[in-house]
Symmetry: C2
Subunit: 497 residues, 2 copies
């Protein structure tokens, strides 16, 4: 039995290695690769994915799981070994549903499609991206069929990001949020300019500040990197090798929020129990839990008044000409303005949810076949105006803005809003546990908050299901009320009025 378990862990270690190797190739592709590398990189990713998938679905895993059944049954269900076997077996059963040919075709198309998306976005040219999007959608629909029978095809895709969650659960949460967010935006959206926020802010200084923030939050540069890319993301190559990516624009300070956001993802992955290294338990639990952490650090912390009490002088020192004379209240208000704007990742905390609801709606209609890819830009623009009240001027500011669909990641978007909702639920728990957390943040001291999150969420990795993990941390399911309270409080009272 012990030997079978050792063998399982060894095989799972190698599977983790292969997955991370794929990650290195994708990271390099999006961060450093010269454009000429596109075709060969796509081939490399397809081959590596084929080999990894073959390795993953190998029957020898099944034999090991069978052998280990009595061992697993003999363990406390929440013990590390029992959880590892359960998670690994679930992953294996899912992977086996998918033929290697389809998995490989998908990996190849993903790399090629990313390239097509980058160019289409640059030129606001949906037509050139359309065949790729059709291809990705078709490949995802074939993937969905591997899991028939299902209640809802969207459930299948969602399960890859939010294991165990059903589309209906999201619909219920979003049904509460949509009218509330629409009316909050209506009540609070402003066109007022904050001229001091339009730079120019030299990029080298933005980068130095980003690094300072990430370091303050607790990351150490012997185990982290920060690089630039088109669409920022975080990826983990090992518990001691966390890669953050960001982007800079001279004419605003959004990069500081991007840095805090990706840092949140990185801290989560970095904080997983070290004994899970090179096992399937060694990562964040689900996309929503991941987003709860990126959004917590970016917004709940990074746009809070205590944070700005600390950060305001640092920012003024860095950009004395532009910001030297701008008082704390003005800066804090500027980074919390509710605005009707086009780009999701630049959106304020209130309108953000509407950007996500838009994508969730469209995705469901694409997956159900109700909406054709060719009609997607029109559908985007119509629904966008309905939700946000402004017309979309072009596809670069509309349907082409996000990388996700180019990678076939249908089902990811709703987790951004679920995570946002969850971030406030988690924040309330953290705040109850650390009564003087505001004072600590005002001093630029994030250590105790980081440690609380690490202990209560990060360390668990994928040991429990997302629902179990959420239950453990906040004592119940995802609940939109605390988030709505938080928004109302922020918009209707205190320094923002």
């Amino acid at each position: 039995m012990e030997q079978a378990f050792t063998e399982l862990k060894e095989r799972l270690g190698k599977l983790t290695d292969l997955r991370r190797a794929e990650g290195v190739l994708v990271w390099d592709m999006t961060v450093f690769m010269p454009p000429g590398g596109g075709p060969t990189r796509a081939a490399q990713l397809a081959t590596l994915h084929e080999i990894t998938h073959e390795y993953e679905i190998d029957e020898s895993f099944g034999e090991l799981f069978e052998k280990l059944e009595p061992y697993a049954a003999s363990l406390p269900p929440d013990s590390e070994d029992a959880c590892l076997i359960r998670v690994a077996q679930r992953d294996w059963s899912k992977a086996r549903r998918v033929p290697t040919e389809l998995a490989t075709e998908f990996a190849l198309a993903q790399a090629q499609s990313y390239d097509a998306w980058v160019r289409a976005r640059e030129n606001s040219d949906f037509a050139s991206f359309r065949p790729w999007l059709e291809r990705m959608l078709d490949l995802r629909l074939r993937y969905v069929e591997c899991f028939a029978p299902y209640d809802d095809p969207y459930d299948v895709l969602l399960d890859d990001f939010e294991p165990g969650m059903k589309t209906d659960e999201i619909r219920a949460v979003f049904a509460v949020l949509e009218p509330e967010l629409v009316s909050l935006v209506e009540a609070h959206a402003t066109d007022e300019k904050d001229d001091f926020m339009s730079g120019p802010f030299p990029i080298a200084s933005q980068e130095a500040l980003s690094r300072e923030l990430i370091g303050r939050f607790g990351a150490t540069w012997d185990q982290f990197r920060l690089d630039t890319t088109v669409h920022p993301f975080e990826v983990t190559f090992g518990l001691g090798d966390i890669r953050l990516t960001t982007r800079y624009r001279e004419d605003d300070l959004i990069s500081l929020f991007t840095a805090m956001h990706e840092c949140g993802h990185g801290l989560y992955e970095w904080g997983v129990n070290p004994s899970f290294e090179r096992t399937p338990l060694c990562s964040g639990c689900s996309a929503a839990l991941h987003e709860s952490q990126s959004r917590l650090w970016e917004n709940v912390v990074g746009r809070s008044l205590p944070f700005w009490r600390w950060f305001h002088p640092r920012l003024q020192e860095t950009f004395p000409e532009k910001l030297g004379g701008v008082p704390l209240e003005s800066l804090h208000r500027a980074v919390n303005r509710t605005r009707r704007s086009f780009i999701r990742v630049d959106a304020d905390e209130t309108s953000y949810g509407l950007h996500v609801i838009l994508r969730f709606d469209l995705e469901q209609r694409l997956i159900s076949g109700e909406l054709a890819v060719e009609d997607l830009p029109d559908a985007w623009n119509a629904r966008f105006e309905e939700l946000l009240g402004i017309p979309v001027p072009n596809d670069q500011l509309g349907v082409l803005q996000d990388a996700h669909w180019s990678g076939g990641s249908f089902g990811y978007f709703p987790t951004y809003l679920l995570g946002t909702v969850l971030s406030v639920q988690i924040w309330e728990k953290a705040r109850a546990a650390i009564p003087d957390v505001d004072e600590q943040i005002e001093r630029g001291d994030f250590h105790q908050l980081h440690m609380w999150l690490r202990e209560n969420i990060y360390a668990l990795g994928r040991k429990f299901t997302p629902a179990e993990t959420i239950e453990r941390v906040v004592g119940g399911p995802i609940d939109p009320e605390p988030y709505l309270r938080y928004l109302r409080d922020k918009l209707e009272t205190s320094a923002l009025v």
Copy 2:
């Protein structure tokens, strides 16, 4: 038959993908990876290498080669398909001699040992590196045994870098070179300082100049990258994805020569016939041929008077304070001084060979068992003083300076000198073909030289054996005489006197 050939090419394509994926992981490890990534990266490389080796030695390749025998026999022996089958079959037969376990252990140890070497070199601490070097040597000796019987164990290692060449051939060439180089160094070595060469030269300017040189030589940045690392190298991830690495020191301009050197490797790989992409023909032919190109661009071109006639004003513009008043002759003399110095990669063209001969001697003695790793530093220091006439002050400037042994690359070093010798033979041919090449270089125009090299060497890739390729290009075997003539001419006449 056609189907079998298609299948072979497909499998070889995937093998190339896997090898290049390993390359990406190694490149990242040495260029960007934070130190905390060491242990997981080593595991990733070991796993990937294991999978690649298993894929490479699979019996299905043997079946395909068997099926394809009549096809191969029906082709002109120098046709692309015949060469591809021959080269692939040779690679396969070699790989099959090596058990996967040994190959995997080697890959794991390589990554770990690199880490140990970087630290040991920093601290000039051979003792901490010794167990790793012993491990690498032991692993290489086990590798050698896979190829028993052999005439000379060193032949086995050499064959990985210089297929088909025997150690005796090198001994014969080096036996001619050693006394000649020793006496040239004795006659011409100087301690004279060129104070203007000691900087400081801001690194950003050195980088800009490096990029300018690489661009001038013909590389385009949509298909190349230049990054910094501890021990510069070039690696290819695709015919459109060439990665050069370099390093900078504020107190000298060696980085310009490093850039030209690595650019030479890159141009070689970049110039391979595009129809060889994703096959085993798609790379330089051998280490010596590769070095002939790096050394040709670095030295034969990059230290020549015509080059400096063009480059002198560019360098003066870049560093007006330090070099504005230094005449062409002084600069050209400064970059061609013969000096007794410690670091191989910084050595002048004359003493360089002695650094290589030292390593070749020591490697043979390590491999034959005549010399123990623990006695290596003393042996290094004794032989170094014999060849170069100065005592080695510490191991950082001695036995720890190169990365090669940390990677188990015994057998590589002699190819540096063989390549240097060959670079002059090739240069003589190029010069005969382009009579006004000096005038072109004086104008900063390297196009015709680049195209001649591409057509006559680069395009061939691994299509022919190294010996055949050399014969095709220079009309005979490796011959030290042109190189010695070139050195004597440079040292004893013209602008250097």
